[in-house]
Every structure is written in C-alpha cells, then in structure tokens.
Amino acid sequence: MSIALRGISKQFGEFAAVKDIDLDVPTGALIALLGPSGCGKTTLLRIIAGLEMPDQGRVLFDGRDATSWPIRDRKVGFVFQHYALFRHMSVFENVAFGLKVKPRRERPDGAQLRRKVDSLLELVQLGWAGDRYPAQLSGGQRQRIALARALAVDPDVLLLDEPFGALDSQVRHELRRWLRRLHDELHFTSIFVTHDQQEAIELADTIMVLNRGRIEQCGIPGDVYDLPTSAFVHRFLGQVNELPVRRRDGRAYVGPIEISPVADSIAGDADDIALIRPHEIEIGPESEGWPAIVTAVRVIGPIVRVELCAEGQPTNEPLEAEISRERYEGERFSVGQKVGLRLRRWQVYPASRTAA
C-alpha cells in the first residue's frame, strides 16, 4: 500500500509538532524518519497510524482519504520502542491476539490459528518461546515477538517507533539486518522512526530528515549523506569539522586554503561557514598545504582518527581527520608531528542559516 501525506500539521498546545508536511511513500518502500528528539518524527508516525489526528492536512492510503479512519481499520502494524507486549499473556497469546479479536466470521479456527502463530514464531526465530511470558525474554526477543504480533494481522504497512532504541548495539545491528531481510521477503511498506543516523543509512531505502517539525531533506541514504542541502543535515548525518570562511579580494579561503569559487547565492560576507567531513581532510607532508600539528591519534578498527591543531585555529577546537588503517600503518603519524593539510571536499553555508 502506498501512503501519502498532504499538508499535515499538528499542534500540541503552543508547540507545533509538525508543520505542513508532504510525503510520498511508494508501495514496498522502507523509509526512515530521522531527526533529533522533538523534531516531530514520532508525531508524524502516529498520525499515519491513526493514533493522532492531524489539525490540518490529509493522509492518503492508496490514494483514498484515510485521515478520519480509526486505527483498527487502517491495517497498520505498529511496533513501539518498549515492545508493549501484553505481560499477562504468553508469547503465543500475544501473537494470536490480533487473530482472536477479529469478528467471528473472519476469525480463523483453532488449528488454523495455531498454524499461523507457529509459523510467525518460526519467522522471528522464536518457535521455542510460545509458552514463555514476555518477562522471561530478553529485549531483542521481545521486540521480535512484538513484530510477529504486528505481522499476524497481515498489515499492509508496518510502522516502527524507534524499534531498536532500547537494545544494546550488538543486538541492534543483528535485528536491523534481520528486519531488512524480512522486509525484502514480505514486501510490505515500512516506515520507521529513529534518531540514529547510522541506523537510517543501514536500513532505509529513503531517508527523510526532520527538523523542528519540517522536512529538511528527503532522498536515498547516499545522497543525503554526500549531498546535504543544509548545514543541519550535514551536521546530523555524521561528523563534521566547521571552519569559518574568510574573503579577500573576491576569493574565499579556509585558513590559507583557497576554496573559491563559492557559489554566488551565498552572501559574500565573513559569516559563511565551511563544513568538512573528517575523511575529506587529507594529511600530507609539512611542506604542503595548511600547516598543522597532530594532537591525538586513535585507532578505531579499520579507520584511524587524527586530531589536528591547524595554524590560526583556536586550539580548543581541534580538527578531526580520518584516514584508513593501511595508510596509517605506512605513515605512522605521532602526536606532536608537523603535517600539512589539504581539503578534498567541502560545503559552504551561510552562518545565519546554520544557526538552526
């Protein structure tokens, strides 16, 4: 089922949670709503589910206006961050719940119901857990049960509210891959909310970055990461170095490095700012580029993070560069060493807009 939002707004008292949101989710897509807490991503998800009524705008399911449909008619599976398993029911009863509350003529009989629930438990690799109670399971197991329960009623849409937020990183990583496989096998439309940019990049086909109730950018993960359209998105997806841009005789510089030409659309004053990701800084011999001193080196698995104090930069804001482990094995930068920096890529934003 495809989902479309048209001009959705929602206020909570004085606080505008989402403002005039348009969104199109094609059938079978896996979309991430990404943003910091309070950006309105959960509100948007709850509006799609029917748990919240928008003040303005329409929700379309397959082109039909579903804005006023009650949640039970929407055929959405909703998964909460804290699982919301029914604690007084066994795992089997939890998964069977959606089938047992169907009207009598649609309700599967005993054997059918058992087969369906058992196959769902197999699907989430918890076939052995049917007789257990939620309190007897680990967090990752509980979240898989919550998913099986949501899938039991054959939803057209799966909505997940920070589904892995309460789990430790190892389990989270496994569950992400598992959910991706499940999505590819079952072809439902999924929308999930997260504040974790890595989770969004790993799992989603499309990322929608939200900030203060508005869409900042929407696109495939690679584009959102490499071609951010605003300083907010640039900062939110991954690490950045922020350096002031200086202008002299119609040319723009970061430190001594010329970065002209800078697009005309950006106001030509001293307040522009350049954002550079750590892997876009090149470390070379002292004689070339922007002189700097290595202040710290940290090996993190396959990459090495080097902190640098560049000439003319305040020392309490070191630059961060990332180089590959192989490169590091060859050159062995050490603390105190003098080096020269070059920039491979950068993006310039006007400072007034970066304040957001």
Partner: protein, 293 residues
Amino acid sequence: MAAAEARGAPRRRRVGRTVLIAAALLFLGLFLLMPLLVVFIQALSRGVGTYLAAIFDPMAWAAVKLTLEVAAIAVPLNLLFGVAAAWAIAKFDFRGKSALVTLIDLPFAVSPVIAGLIFILLFGAHGWFGGVLRAHHIRVVFAVPGIVLATLFVTFPFIARELIPVMQAQGRDDEETALSLGASGWQTFWRVTLPNIRWGLMYGVLLCNARAMGEFGAVSVVSGHVRGLTNTMPLHVEILYNEYNYTAAFAVASLLALLALLTLAGKSFLEWRQPELRHAALAARDRTRRENT
C-alpha cells in the same frame, strides 16, 4: 578525637534506630493494639453465651444485614465509577481533566457530617427535591436510599485514587497496540486494560468496602436511627453504648473489628502477591538469559 568520633558514630546510629523503633512500637501498642484487645475483652467479658446472644439479637442482625446491603450496592457502583474515571484520566487528554481529579478528591476533604447534611438539604422534607419526592411517595432521607447515597459519596475516591497512578504508570502503549491489531475499545478494555490493573483494582475494592461498612458520620446524619430499619452496624454500636449496654455494644463492635482485621489481611496478601509475581518473572528471565548464553 576524630577517630573516636568515627568509632562512636555507628553505635550512636544503632541507639537512635532502637529508640525510633521502640517509640513506634509503643505508639502502635497504645493506640491500635490495646483498643483492639479492649473491644474483644469487653465483648466476651460476660461469657460466650451473652456475646452470641448480643450478636444474634434481631436488631443487631438487622444492622448487620443493612450494612452488608449498603456495601453491596455502594462498592460495585464505585467500582464502575472508579474504573471509568481512572480510565478517562490516565488514558485520554481532555479539557477539565485536572478539575475532575480535584473533584474526585473532594469527599476526602469534606467532613462526613457535612456530606450527610448535603443530602438532607437536597432530599430532606424541606430540601430542594423534598416536595417532588413526597409527591411521589419516595423516601430518601431517613431511609435506605439516603444511607446508600451518603456511603457512595464518602467512598467515592477510593478505587479511582488507587487506579489512576497504576494506569498512568502503565501508559497507553498496550491499548494503542491492541487497537492497531484490530481490537474494539471494549475488547481492549476487557482483554488488555483490566488484566493489567487487576491487583490495584482488588486493593481499591478492599479499602472501599472497609470504609463503606465502617462509615459513621455521614450515615448518622441521614439515617434517622430507626432501629431495625435504618441502623447500620456503626450506628447500632453507638445506640447500644448510649444505653449503657456495653457488652452488646462491644460484641457488635467486635464484628467491625474483625472486618478491619480481614481487610488488613487481604491487603497484606495483595501486597505480597504483587511483588511476588514480579520476582518470579525476574528470576525466570535470569534463568533464560543464562541458558541462552
């Protein structure tokens, strides 16, 4: 010097603790245990025969029956109201929510005698609705309906007050999940909400029942003290006492005291049962974790 102080400190703490515990026990003994004992000793002071005769006296028996009847009407009604109010307050946002919470607490704040007077002013012979009621030959005040109303008013907050924090702590996720799975509001309530609150609910019912049976002030104002007709147990105790019939008064009082003890036992059972469930669940989870790793 400093070292001596440091050594002295734990001992001083121990002494302090002993004094506190002793004071608490003394207080409990003086104000709770002794009166309770006095009730039973006085009741049985002229032998078991007199005690039983006092209890099975027709007037006493009528009082017991009336008390049970009133509780049997008031407690289920307040159960309905309490669950509905707690459900509304904990699971929905609406205008006037805080006003409703304050209103629920009102019977706690108002003296029971005032509560009784309110009903006299409303339904008494010269009250607002007195004329209408007389025209239809309906007696409220100085009759059973008045006693039920007064008891309802006084025990109004018990169940709602018990349930609101329980329901608020549990949040709305369970209910929202049930709805998203296609359950109706009614199915959600019976299958998800009610099982989640059952222990808190029983606790509230227990306290509500104890108060309904023991209420004196409000009931005293509206009852009219008609022996055998509008006397509840607490009122009957007072009448017997005023007639210098101490043994009979204490015999009936001992029934109320027994009720209090039963309530206490039930309350302890529920309190013991709830953490017990939690501990069992935790232990079981630890076991599964060990098996999995």
